[in-house]
Amino acid sequence: MATLRFNSLTGTLEKNPTSSFSSNPRLSWAYFQCNNKGERRASRMTVKAMGAAKYKGTQMREKKLTEMIEKKVSEAKQVCEGDETSDECKVAWDEVEEVSQAKADLRLRLEIEKKDPLESFCQENPETEECKIYED
């Protein structure tokens, strides 16, 4: 019989995260440990919720930034394998930081302003590709 134990990181479920620069109050971590015939498996589940993006352009940006983060982290790991103190390694991690922050900024904007960043642009340019209403 497997027993399930659920631990969540305290404080991360509150409405007011304390950092000025983190932006995801709906983040939670869960550790699941299954005791099954003496075997232990730990898996991690992360739940991410972002404020609703309305325009295709914003959804495209979110997607692009997400992909870039993943791509640039793996690039940085590759580049730094040779020499951790090299300029190339520094620049690679700086790029990771830049796109991570850009994604976080977008997330924060969607949550705090509760409106799509493209709102005013799309009022003036409703026909552009970016301003099509995004439907999931």
Binding site: T18, S19, S20, R61, K77, E124, N125
Partner: protein, 409 residues
């Protein structure tokens, strides 16, 4: 008829600085009036300075410039939102322009992101092997010229650095606001830009807190892990320490964010110890104090009149020196749980430049959903916002009081 304000600055006493029209590559828009000035000394022994061109703007050109050094992206941080909120109105990106603009505009303030002055885009930096933190990636000449222009009432075409594409986009027009905030990695790096600042702030996040915050920021992203977050911070640290950190000695106010001392071995970065380090002797800025200015105070507000929940709140205030400057430090450790704690604390602080009792509390409540609203980061950011409002009002009232000296015939 346009009115040209001639400020009684030292530069007008002896010689006039002559500026040539249409420096189009730097994006200036100028309206110019040429004054001919004759030497007031008879006998012609005085210096004949010839024609002087004085740049005028049609409106009220009394732009106050504030610098904010922060390693957290630009113009969207909660500090900026709190600051613009103190002046009233919400700050929004320029309407109808580039959707990836980093600029924020409200009625009174315009916030410019200094990343817009990158001389190298992402590809360029990769080729040269420099990070964004490196001064070689930034055009300080342009930064200086444009901030100077805006300060003197001239609109500029400022480049846009697009953080999504990593490219430099076509410029956007920035009209001189009442208050210009330049936010980014290097507002105090270049001496000429530093001299243009009426007030400067440095947000100093300790390594432990930075790590905790970046974990909260990035752990949900595919691709990131504890190791990658740590590696990113470590890789940027040498450039950060070399180019960004040294700016703090120039700041008029430093907001230092450290792990709490109230909870032993706390590494979540949830409860924070925040220190507001205020330089003494700064024009138009009187440091906030507790109870008795210039003395040293340790204060725990929780007790008989106020009950707080764990871990409570602890304040400290006192004079000190910081990089050779005389400062006063106000420190808060812990967090607010209830409204009455906040108002109790506010009622015991002095020199907070509020216009009415409870203004700090009201501002904090207005943005209760912002990060930091329950601890010293939100409190001190709000107070600094009020001090900047006070500074702005002092500067503008002193300028209008100065008589306009017409040239004597």
């Amino acid at each position: 008829m346009a009115v040209c304000s001639a400020y009684t600055t030292q530069s007008l006493n002896s010689t006039c600085s002559i500026s040539t029209p249409a420096k189009t590559h730097l994006g200036f828009h100028q309206k110019q009036v040429v004054f001919y000035r004759r030497s007031s000394k008879r006998g012609g022994s005085g210096s004949s300075s010839g024609p002087c061109v004085i740049t005028c703007s049609a409106g009220d050109s009394q732009t106050v410039v504030i610098g904010l050094a922060a390693d957290s992206g630009c113009g969207k941080s909660t500090f900026m939102r709190r600051l613009t909120s103190v002046f009233g109105g919400a700050a929004e990106p320029p309407k109808g322009g580039n959707p990836d603009s980093n600029t924020l505009i409200s009625d009174m303030t315009t916030v410019i992101c200094l990343d817009d002055y990158h001389s190298l885009d992402r590809t360029g930096r990769k080729e040269k092997g420099v990070t964004a933190l490196d001064p070689r990636a930034n055009d300080f000449d342009l930064m200086y010229e444009q901030v100077k222009a805006i300060k003197s009432g001239v609109a500029v075409d400022k480049p846009i650095y697009n953080h999504v594409t990593g490219l430099l986009d076509p410029p956007e027009l920035i009209k001189p606001p009442k208050i210009l905030v330049i936010e980014g990695l290097h507002p105090m790096f270049d001496e000429r830009v530093r001299d243009l600042l009426d007030f400067s702030i440095y947000l100093d996040i300790s390594n432990e807190v930075k790590f905790a915050w970046k974990i909260q920021r990035d752990m949900a992203e595919r691709g990131h892990s504890l190791e990658s977050i740590k590696a990113s911070i470590e890789a940027r640290k040498p450039d950060f320490d070399a180019y960004i950190d040294p700016q703090k000695k120039y700041a008029d106010a430093v907001i230092e964010v450290l792990p709490t001392q109230l909870i032993p071995d706390d590494n979540e970065g949830k409860v924070l110890r925040v220190r507001l380090i205020m330089k003494e002797g700064v024009k138009h800025f009187s440091p906030v104090y507790l109870f008795d200015e210039g003395s040293t105070i340790s204060w725990i507000p929780c007790g008989r009149k106020l009950t707080c929940s764990y871990p409570g709140i602890k304040f400290h205030y006192g004079p000190d020196t910081y990089f050779g400057n005389e400062v006063s430090i106000l420190e808060m450790d812990g967090q607010f749980d209830r409204l009455d704690e906040l108002i109790y604390v506010e009622s015991h602080l002095s020199n907070i430049s509020t216009k009415f009792y409870g203004e700090v509390t009201q501002q904090m409540l207005k943005h209760a959903d912002f990060p930091g609203s329950n601890n010293g980061t939100g409190l001190f950011q709000t107070i600094v916002g009020l001090k900047i409002r006070d500074l702005y009002e002092q500067i503008t009232s002193s300028k209008t009081a100065a008589p306009l000296e017409a040239t004597k015939a």
